[in-house]
Amino acid sequence: MFLHILKYELKNSLRVKEITVWLIIFPIALGICFKIAFGSIYEKTEKFSAIPVAVVENTENAAFRQVMENIGKSDEPFLKVSFTDMDGAEKMLDNGDVEGIIVSDGKLSLTVKEKGLRETMLKSFLEQYTVREKIAMDAINTAPEKAQEVIEALTGETVSSCREIPLTQGNPDMYIQYFYNLIAMVALFGCNIGMHITIQNQADLSALGARNNCSPARKSVSILACFTGSCIMQTFCMILCVSFLAFVLKVDFGDRLYLVYPAAIMGGILGVSFGFFVGSIARVGEKTKTAILTAFALLLCFCSGLMMGDMKAVIVEKMPWFNNINPAAVISDCFYCLNIYEDYDRFVTKLITMAVTTFIFVFLGFVFSRRKKYASI
């Protein structure tokens, strides 16, 4: 009986258009939109192209030439260097082929055509080089035995005085959070499938529910089969969603992709159980129930910051308990932990929270659905 109901539950779910739209097409479409939107921002703000610069050597400076040649040969060069004479350099600057001219004639000088970020970076580079060159020369003159050590230290040091210390092996850039939010939202949309379980099994909610209650199939078996089918369907949609983001849109989940899957699946099951619970607590028509559930789900998404990032901080400050029971917040927190923290403790804690919340929703759903007779139909 269980397998028979499960088989048809899966067949039915696969053909329901709303499920296809909200759990498959919606995340794909929104994921593509995110990728297009954030992709261009990312290109502009995060990815540098090498700054073209002309170098004019009026006097020989072997150390400087070597540094410039090494920069040009690196994997992601900071500068694109062209060695030329002064006339050629000025021509290149006028044509916009280079951003600046570095002239080496005893000391280093920079000529730029206009002021901007890239020109500032050239200036900063030149200043740092000049300072380091002076330190190295002083070391050679004052303590030749330590000179090699000093030069190695200077070349190994990063340009910035601040060093980035990663907390996670994931991808901590701000845009990835939007994709996590998208997954969390799809997981919560599973509540519509969950509500369908109640509709199909409660005699006072639908003709189909009344018809099923007349059959010799035990209600608990029928509900369990429908719940299992819904979870399988939701799991399939979550795997599809994450895989599409990771492998088609090439969203960088860092080296923790294998953890995104269980988190997404658990979130999806939580969404289904939430819908099952809400569906079983009140006796109203199917359309009204769907409207209430959708509005409720969107409200929870809003409160968890899935729509407006600052909202989450407000809720955490004013009503921290609500954040712990809000399924949308629990799901997004799980991804947040995965994204931010290096250790797995918080992530596992959030996974357990989701499992416990799921259990509570399912248990209460069964309790409220256990009615065998109805006061009115």
Binding site: M1, A210, R211, K373, Y374, A375
Partner: protein, 316 residues
């Protein structure tokens, strides 16, 4: 002696102050097609829902196949086929899959089930639509699918709750013929409707319900015998002096005469040759007349006389 399949005793169901079923009792024997006739809101569907243990009731007892019916009487439910008033099918499953789903709730054996599903499809005439989704079916075909889902497992007791509502005449006839066939094959049938012609046509015994009460019960002939009217004579006539109308009113077995839109309506109670006697009076008074027709009482007349309201008036 025939077995009692359904026994309802003193059933009371209240919705707040409204009494939906007022000490309603009923017994249905094996092999009967039992009709529950009454206007909307008379308590027919409430009775069915209580019978199926879907609806909690305030008082009374219900036994099916000699056993007390409860929500967990799975052994009893196995032998019942239910065709709900509202079509109860999955929109995303095909005709075949829908029937197979419901049949599978009763029949575990796959081979047997396949055979039963095919029989049900043939029975309701949906052979050409087995791969269709319900949304592609007309109202009549959808009702037939609803019936196929309810009877595929060959139940001993079939409950049909207004199965012909909003159905075209062709499908309606097919459904009614199907019910007679099911009964011939041994099924006991409970049929609720507010269409008296249907009930009169197929039911072996009928209970008339009004305001949650059973107002009459019996075969259609027994019910008709319960009322005064046995024959209604209608004659198209232009002129009818009061003296002639008085003479007709005084004829034996005539208990009521009316003039309505150039029509003379004569209601008779018992007796033979009532029409000849009325026509004799008209001829004797040299009065010309047009169309003449006579009607035997209908269940509507029964309902009208018992409740004081016509069944169709109640529908309005």
């Amino acid at each position: 002696m025939e077995n009692t399949v359904v026994k309802i005793k003193d059933l009371v169901k209240r919705y707040g102050d409204l009494i939906a079923l007022d000490h309603f009792s009923l017994e249905i024997k094996e092999g009967e097609i039992f009709g529950l006739l009454g206007p909307n809101g008379s308590g027919k569907t409430t009775t069915i829902n209580c019978l199926l243990s879907l609806l909690a009731f305030d008082k009374g007892d219900i036994e099916l196949f000699g056993k007390k019916m409860t929500p967990v009487s799975y052994d009893i439910k196995k032998d019942i086929g239910v065709i709900m008033q509202n079509v109860a099918v999955f929109e995303e499953l095909t005709v075949y899959e829908n029937i197979d789903y419901f049949c599978g709730l009763y029949i575990k054996d796959k081979e047997k089930r396949r055979e039963y599903v095919e029989e049900a499809i043939k029975f309701v005439g949906l052979e050409d639509f087995r791969r269709f989704y319900p949304r592609k079916l007309s109202g009549g075909l959808l009702r037939r699918l609803n019936i196929a889902c309810g009877i595929a497992h060959k139940p001993k007791l079939i409950i049909l709750d207004e199965p012909t509502v909003a159905v075209d005449p062709q499908s309606r006839n097919r459904i009614l013929e199907g019910i007679l066939d099911l009964n011939k094959n041994g099924a006991t049938v409970i049929y609720t409707s507010h269409y008296m012609e249907e009930v009169e046509h197929i039911c072996t015994r009928i209970a008339i319900m009004d305001k949650g009460r059973k107002v009459a019960e019996g075969t259609k002939d027994e019910l008709k015998r319960m009322i005064k009217n046995t024959e209604t004579i209608t004659i198209d006539i232009l002129e009818l002096p009061d003296s002639v109308l008085k003479e007709i009113s005084g004829l034996p077995h005539v208990y009521d005469t009316k003039r309505e839109d150039e029509k003379l309506i004569v209601c008779c109670s018992g007796g033979k040759h009532n029409l000849i006697r009325v026509l004799d009076v008209l001829q004797k008074n040299e009065l010309g007349f047009g169309r003449v027709y006579t009607e035997l009482p209908t269940l509507n007349d029964v309902f009208l006389e018992i409740t004081g309201t016509a069944l169709r008036d109640k529908e309005d």
